[in-house]
């Protein structure tokens, strides 16, 4: 079961590579922000599953921090796109 979860973590991290294509290509800034937001979600999941594989619960706090603060970057970028630097 541990090796299976390790492969799941690797798969979740490999999905980030697909998203990097959109991050590099994206014609507008908004496309890149969507890709970055999803990269943060995938990193959270990969870290959570890896914490279960490695049996180290401190990594869970990193995943929790990433889940709770990644949205702030998106909201800050959205505010910048809408109103400019304030």
């Amino acid at each position: 079961m541990s090796t299976f979860l390790a492969w799941i973590a690797v798969g979740e991290a490999a999905i980030i590579l697909i998203l990097l294509v959109r991050l590099a290509l994206g014609p507008t800034v908004s496309d890149r922000i969507v890709a970055l937001n999803t990269v943060a979600t995938q990193a959270t999941l990969a870290l959570f599953v890896y914490a279960a594989v490695a049996d180290r619960s401190p990594y869970l706090d990193v995943a929790l921090w990433l889940a709770s603060f990644s949205y702030l970057g998106t909201v800050a970028w959205a505010r910048y796109l809408e109103r400019g630097l304030l």
Partner: protein
């Protein structure tokens, strides 16, 4: 029985995460891509968190953190997606050519 449940939930989560990533790469438009990214959270993240929680037991650090992460993702992901779509629309990002309706433009 427990292992079967864990495997099924984890594979479902991984498959939906993969399909969301492919959708973000292949969709023609910012707004379609935002829709794909929300799919990535609801059906990609939640089964995977549930799978790890079932594997490690509900009364454990993993269960508590999975509950918190699921709550945060469910609350904050629609919020940031909505803010991003609104900002993209107001900053003048065009829809793709095949789009059939543009409701905010019709209003005065």
């Amino acid at each position: 029985m427990k292992d079967v449940l864990v495997v099924v939930l984890a594979v479902v989560g991984l498959a939906f995460s993969l399909s969301g990533a492919v959708g973000i790469t292949r969709m023609p438009d910012v707004y379609c891509r935002i829709q794909c990214s929300t799919k990535n959270v609801t059906m990609g993240a939640l089964p995977l968190l549930l799978a790890v929680t079932i594997d490690k037991g509900f009364i454990s650090p993993y269960g508590a953190r999975a509950l918190l992460i699921a709550f945060l993702l469910l609350v904050l992901s629609p919020l940031s997606s909505h803010a991003l779509a609104r900002a993209a629309y107001r900053s003048g990002v065009r829809m793709w050519r095949g789009a059939v309706v543009d409701v905010p433009r019709r209003r005065p």
